[in-house]
Every structure is written in structure tokens, then in C-alpha cells.
């Protein structure tokens, strides 16, 4: 499951609480409790939220904080009860459903996690976090279904690796800090469910044979544990070594290659900002999609996997009318999917930087 990685976890709560709450006193109290929670003073946070709830039992913010505190305290059953109560009182809020899903997934109850996420999406169809989490839960459920269908047993080395890894992820997640959605967070801009130029899909899973070959080399399982996430440091992939050309941008050709490598690296690092910065303002969007929707879907695609590895082979650059056309083989590997495909980028220089103006599958 994916959570905002780059922003400190509870800033959002605090900021939101300060701006949103009508009753100033309660808002202050909630902000204070948020700080205590952020500071890891769980016992105090817990006591004060209980006091607050005694006077305002239906306060959504307070109840949500209570759920977060219980989650932090690893009181999973009580945390589930708290978020469940919240979904009953405020069925229109997606966040409690999402957090319920995270807790259920942590318990290995993927079917329940799925139901909760589907509820989150029903309340907010564009709730990106829930979509991402749901994708992971689907993948996990698919993997369980395949295990039952194909009787992947312990004699099967692949299945063994997979099972061991699932246990491992859940274990480390449970020890780590569970990261859950923040109260009242606005859902990110509509992640339109149109994948358009997906990095991988065309070549992916062409048949039952194609996918496993590549996947088998990967130590990661096909379906990641939709877990309560391991600390970000452990997840971030090692940046791929930049090809040698990147080191000496002596001319246009070298500059283009350097820009290409930067783009590949940002992708591999799952650095959405750097990745999107590689695309020119006048980038040709697929099928009349809006830039905003396109960015949202790209961002999601980049951040959803727990790991991405992108390699490019044999880039060939040609120049015409000040525009560079780069053709290369791209091998994409994530915990979810592997694909090897031909790609063409059309790049142009804007303000001294080579940026992507067009992106096409195939040469």
C-alpha cells in the first residue's frame, strides 16, 4: 500500500485541524493531541483524546485521532473498532474505510480490506490512496486465488519465496510505524482511471508464459503485501547506475542522453516531481486528456509499486529541426509487473533543458 512518503506524517493533521475546525478550543485541543501523537507520546495523547470524546462523543476528528493512536499503540482490534464506529457515524468519509482496510490487510484479512476500500471509493470515487491500496489488495487476492487454483505448494520454490517474503513484509510493517490516511485530507486531484500510455501494459503478461520468466528473476513476489508499510528508507530502490554518457554532456547528443538518464533515474527512484519535470509543458497528452489528470495518473503509476527498476538499452538519437528523437529498448520491472518494450521519445530544448515532448510505444 502506498502512503504519502515525502511529507511528514502528521503535518497534514495539524495544518488541517488549525484551519478547518470551527470550535477553536476543541481545535486547539485536537491540534495538541495531534502533536502528542506525532511526538510519540501515545499515552498522553490517548488520555486527552478520551477526555475530549467524553464531552464530544460524535466528533469525527477526535474519533479519527483515537483510531490513529490505537493503531500506533498496535491495539489493532480496538483501532478497527474505532474506525468502524467512525464509518457508521460518518459513512461519507473515505479515510476511516481506508484505514480499516490497512488494518485488515495487516491482519491478512484481504477480503475485508477490499470491501472497506471499495466502500472508500464508493464514497469518493477519485480517492487516489484508496485506489492504490485497492490495487495492491486485488493483487494480493489474485495471488491467493492463483495459489488455490494452481496448488502452488511448498515444493514449488517460487511459491516458497513468495510466502516467506509476504510474512517478512507484514512482520516488518507491523514493527514499523503504520502510516494511515490523515484526517480530512483532501483526496488528490482526480486520478482518472485511464492509463493511456502505461509504461508497461502493452508488453506485459502477454500470456501465462511471458510474465513469469522475468518475474522469476525478481526476488519480489508478483503480489506485494499490501501492508502497513515498511519504513521508506527500506523501500527506496538503489538508483540505477547512470550510463557513462551521462557523465560528459559535451554536445547535444550527450545532453539528450543525460536528460534521458535523469528521466530514467527519477522513474526508478519513484520521484514523481523529478519524473514529471522531465516532461515539457507542451507535452503531447494522450487522447485529449487534461495535463492535470495525466500528471495524477502518472504520479500514481510511479508511486504505486513498492519498487521500480527501469533500464534503457541502446538509445539512438537523431536530430531534425532542433528536435531530438530518441529510440531505445526499455525494460521495466516493478514488484507488480515486468515488461520489455521499444519506446520513442521526442525531446526539445526548453530553457536550456531537454524535455520530453512526445512519448510513444514502439520505434
Amino acid at each position: 500500500m502506498t502512503f504519502p512518503r515525502f511529507s511528514p506524517l502528521y503535518h497534514g493533521i495539524v495544518a488541517l485541524i488549525l484551519t478547518c475546525c470551527a470550535a477553536a478550543a476543541a481545535a486547539d485541543e485536537i491540534a495538541d493531541i495531534g502533536k502528542l501523537l506525532k511526538g510519540g507520546q501515545l499515552e498522553q495523547a490517548s488520555q486527552r483524546v478520551d477526555v475530549l470524546l467524553a464531552s464530544k462523543p460524535r466528533d469525527a476528528q477526535a474519533q479519527f485521532l483515537k483510531g490513529l493512536i490505537l493503531t500506533e499503540q498496535n491495539k489493532t482490534t480496538e483501532a478497527i473498532a474505532a474506525f468502524t464506529k467512525l464509518t457508521e457515524l460518518y459513512p461519507e468519509l473515505p479515510e476511516p474505510y481506508n484505514n480499516l482496510a490497512v488494518l485488515y490487510a495487516g491482519l491478512g484479512q484481504y477480503e475485508r480490506a477490499r470491501q472497506a476500500l471499495e466502500m472508500a471509493i464508493r464514497t469518493h470515487p477519485s480517492y487516489a490512496t484508496a485506489h492504490e491500496n485497492l490495487g495492491d489488495v486485488y493483487a494480493k487476492l489474485a495471488s491467493q486465488a492463483y495459489d488455490k487454483a494452481l496448488q502452488l505448494d511448498s515444493n514449488n520454490p517460487t511459491a516458497q519465496t513468495k510466502l516467506a517474503l509476504v510474512r517478512d513484509l507484514i512482520g516488518s510493517g507491523a514493527r514499523g510505524r503504520p502510516q494511515v490516511a490523515q484526517a480530512g485530507t483532501k483526496p488528490p486531484a482526480a486520478a482518472s482511471p485511464a492509463p493511456a500510455l502505461a509504461p508497461a501494459p502493452a508488453a506485459a503478461a502477454k500470456d501465462a508464459k511471458a510474465a513469469p520468466v522475468v518475474a522469476a528473476k525478481d526476488a519480489k513476489p508478483a503480489a506485494p503485501a499490501p501492508a502497513v508499510l515498511a519504513p521508506p528508507a527500506a523501500v527506496a530502490p538503489a538508483p540505477p547506475a547512470p550510463p557513462k554518457e551521462a557523465l560528459r554532456p559535451a554536445n547535444d547528443q550527450a545532453e539528450v542522453i543525460a536528460a534521458l538518464n535523469a528521466w530514467v533515474m527519477s522513474w526508478g527512484k519513484q520521484d514523481a516531481a523529478a519524473y514529471l519535470a522531465a516532461y515539457a509543458r507542451d507535452f503531447k497528452l494522450p487522447r485529449g486528456e487534461s495535463r492535470q489528470a495525466w500528471e495524477a495518473s502518472r504520479k500514481q503509476r510511479i508511486t504505486a509499486p513498492t519498487k521500480i527498476e527501469v533500464k534503457i538499452d541502446d538509445p539512438k538519437v537523431t536530430f531534425a529541426d532542433g528536435v531530438a528523437t530518441v529510440k531505445f529498448r526499455q525494460s521495466y520491472k516493478s514488484n507488480l509487473i515486468s515488461a520489455n518494450s521499444a519506446k520513442t521519445l521526442v525531446m526539445a530544448k526548453n530553457g536550456g533543458k531537454w524535455q520530453i515532448r512526445e512519448e510513444r510505444s514502439g520505434n
Binding site: E132, A139, Y146, Q151, A202, A208
Partner: protein, 401 residues
């Protein structure tokens, strides 16, 4: 991961194309229908939903199927595909990463066999060509089509076979036409159930019960066929169904289906005809075929009573064997016997006429024979094999059954 609807489309198209090919094979105007709650109907509902891009419905139907049959591997495979298809395009069944291709192939074959069975129902008034005549006390007959992975039950409705139900089955890993021990093939022929083995006496592999059949029968032995232990049986507890070709030669039903079939089976009596291509006859053709054979049998009985040895021996085929005799020895013996008798009376009762699967026109005729003569009387159960030779039905094998 985004729920991306267009991605779903790749899968059904390729897969449905395979299924639609099957649909094109002649579907009769009037056919038997399947009950609403069976697996084939459920699978068709799922695939129709996929075809119509109603993927949430497809998933809900798949989950309902799993709820009723928790060990149903094919349903789990479809569920996996439907879930995975939310992430990226799936072009065939069994898109699991690291899926053992053999297992996926088996499940795909099962899906195709079941959907074909749904689309190609047995004709409503058709009668399997094998069931020319059942004995009055044979309540049901079992007909197996190995190529279609299907078992049909026909009821004896006052002498006329009437369709009751049909079921998915698995047969031998190496197909049919068993020849020798260990060849992992299912025999083709006319057999009957010889015993009923309850679950308590069986290993888990055989599921909820087993019904051994009399392979090798007389004809098999005459033709040098070997092996033994061919049963109809159930499915091990860890799976709802097995692949179309999965057994060592037995005919395997799901436990649920085995239980339905079990109470229709009469040990020692219920015929089991295993074919690799079941043919159905119209009522008229069936009547004509059985009448022609009935006439031949009746003529043989009369010619035997007449003690006219030439007329009687005309009913025997060149390849005849019986009581350890070939045609020549048989003829000499019969002429000798007939010469010593003043009269013969032959009564035939409880006649069954079951056509043998395969290219040859051959029918197994069994009956209770009441033999009376001027110097000898006996009652016996007899089994005769009738072969068409030069357009005439002739006996090619005769003996006690």
C-alpha cells in the same frame, strides 16, 4: 494501482474467441437444458459477464461459485484473473505470474470442456446409439464420452432410454482405448458396474465413493487387452474437480456428482458404456436399428429350435469364437448335437442390446436363456456379441455371462 477499465477488454476477447469456436459446432434446435445451479451454467454466466464487460458482475458470480464449491480451482483461477485484470491487460486464462503452464493448461481445458457441454446439449429426443435395448430391470444406463469429458445418465422409461442428467468427468492421462496395464488410458467398450465401494473403505484419492466396472470384459480379453481396476469414482478432498485428462484410466466425477449418480446405480446391472464419440439417434433411427437386430435374434432363436443346422449356423460370423471353439469346431459340435435331439425349445428373456463403441457394427446382447430339449434342459445367463458381416447381424462370440 488504478482501476482501469479498458485493460479488462483484452482478456475476454482472446478467450471468448476460443469459446465461440466451440459454440459454432452444431447446436441442436431442441436440446436438453442444464439445471440452473450447476457449474456449467455458473461458468457460462461468468463468461457472459466478461464478454459483456460487466466485470464486477463476473467477479461476484465467480465468488458465488467459490462459495458453493470452495475447492474449485478453475473458479479460483478465474477470480485471480479478474482481480489481476484490474491492474493490467490479461490476454489469456491463468495470467498468474510463475503459473505452472501445465496446471493452467489443465484448468483451461476443463473450462473449455464445461462450456462446450453447456453449448452443445444432447438432443432432446435423441437416444445414444449404444442403448438399443435395456433389460426391464435395468433402471438406468451410464454413457461416457471421453472426448467431451462428459457422463450421461439415461433412464429406462418403459424400454425407451430417456435423458436424466449429464456431468463433467475426467478420464485417463493418456486418453482412451486402453490396451494394457499402466498405460493410463480409459477403456472404450460396454461394461457394467460390478461393485459399490463406500467412502470409508477408500483412499482420499477416490473421493466419496467408487464403482468398479468389469474391464477387461470378454471381448477385451479376446483382443488381448489387459489391465484392471477401472472404476467410476469421486474426487480427492482438496479439489472440486480434476482436469479432463487426469486419471490412470478411471472415470472421475466430482463428489457431488458422484453422489447424484450413486443412487441410480444397480450393482451387477447398470451398464456403463464408454465411448470417445457418443452418437445420438433419432427415435425413428433408433427403432429401425433395434428392430433389425431384434429380428436377427429372433430368427437365430427359431433356426436353433428348427434343428436345421445349416440355417442355424448361418447366424455365426467367420471370426466366431465360443466355449473355446472356432466356427469350424462349433459347427461340427452343433451338427452332432442337433442330430441327437427330437425337439428343442429356446426361451429368451430379459434381453439387453448394447451397441459397442467404435468403428465396427457390433452389439452386445445378453439374455436369460431357457433351453429345453428332448434330452437336456438348462437355464443360463448368456452374453453374445453380434457383428454385422455382409450386411447381416451375425454372432461373433457366445458364452455364459
Amino acid at each position: 494501482m488504478v482501476v482501469s477499465t479498458w485493460l479488462w477488454r483484452a482478456w475476454p476477447r482472446a478467450f471468448m474467441a476460443t469459446l465461440l469456436c466451440l459454440a459454432a459446432v452444431g447446436v441442436q434446435a431442441q436440446t436438453q437444458t442444464l439445471p440452473n445451479d450447476d457449474v456449467e451454467t455458473a461458468l457460462v454466466g461468468i463468461f457472459k459477464a466478461i464478454e459483456g464487460r460487466r466485470l464486477a458482475e463476473a467477479l461476484a458470480r465467480t465468488e458465488a461459485l467459490i462459495a458453493s464449491r470452495p475447492n474449485y480451482r478453475l473458479a479460483h483461477l478465474i477470480k485471480g484473473d479478474l482481480l489481476l485484470a484490474r491492474g493490467w491487460p490479461i490476454r489469456t486464462m491463468g495470467a498468474a505470474p510463475n503459473a505452472p503452464p501445465e496446471r493452467v493448461r489443465e484448468l483451461r481445458e476443463e473450462a473449455l470442456a464445461r462450456l462446450a457441454a453447456y453449448r452443445q446439449r444432447p438432443p432432446k429426443d435423441g437416444i445414444p446409439r449404444y442403448l438399443l435395448q435395456l433389460r426391464p430391470d435395468q433402471k438406468n444406463a451410464v454413457v461416457v464420452d471421453t472426448k467431451k469429458s462428459r457422463l450421461y445418465i439415461y433412464e429406462n422409461d418403459n424400454g425407451k432410454p430417456r435423458f436424466v442428467a449429464d456431468y463433467y468427468i475426467s478420464h485417463g492421462k493418456n486418453g482412451s482405448d486402453k490396451l494394457r496395464e499402466g498405460d493410463q488410458k480409459t477403456p472404450l467398450g460396454v461394461y457394467h458396474v460390478t461393485a459399490s465401494l463406500p467412502k470409508t473403505k477408500l483412499a482420499d484419492l477416490y473421493g466419496d465413493g467408487a464403482f468398479p466396472i468389469n474391464y477387461p470384459n470378454g471381448w477385451d480379453r479376446r483382443n488381448g487387452r489387459g489391465g484392471s481396476g477401472i472404476w467410476l469414482h469421486g474426487t480427492p478432498s482438496d479439489t472440486f474437480a480434476r482436469a479432463p485428462r487426469a486419471s490412470d484410466g478411471c472415470v472421475v466425477l466430482s463428489n457431488q456428482d458422484l453422489r447424484s449418480v450413486a443412487h441410480l446405480i444397480q450393482v451387477g446391472l447398470t451398464p456403463v458404456i464408454i465411448s470417445d464419440h457418443v452418437e445420438w439417434l433419432s427415435q425413428d433411427d433408433w427403432n429401425n436399428e433395434r428392430r433389425a437386430l431384434q429380428n436377427a435374434i429372433e430368427q437365430w432363436r427359431r433356426d436353433w429350435e428348427s434343428r436345421d443346422s445349416d440355417a442355424y449356423l448361418k447366424h455365426y460370423a467367420r471370426a466366431f469364437q465360443g466355449d473355446g471353439m472356432n466356427l469350424k469346431a462349433w459347427s461340427e459340435r452343433k451338427r452332432q448335437v442337433n442330430a441327437g435331439k427330437a425337439w428343442i425349445k429356446i426361451g429368451l428373456a430379459n434381453i439387453s442390446m448394447l451397441r459397442y463403441p467404435g468403428k465396427d457394427d457390433m452389439v452386445v446382447v445378453t439374455f436369460d436363456q431357457d433351453y429345453k430339449s428332448s434330452n437336456l434342459e438348462n437355464m443360463m445367463k448368456k452374453r453374445t456379441y453380434w457383428l454385422k458381416e455382409g450386411g447381416q447381424w451375425k454372432i461373433v462370440d457366445e458364452g455364459a455371462s
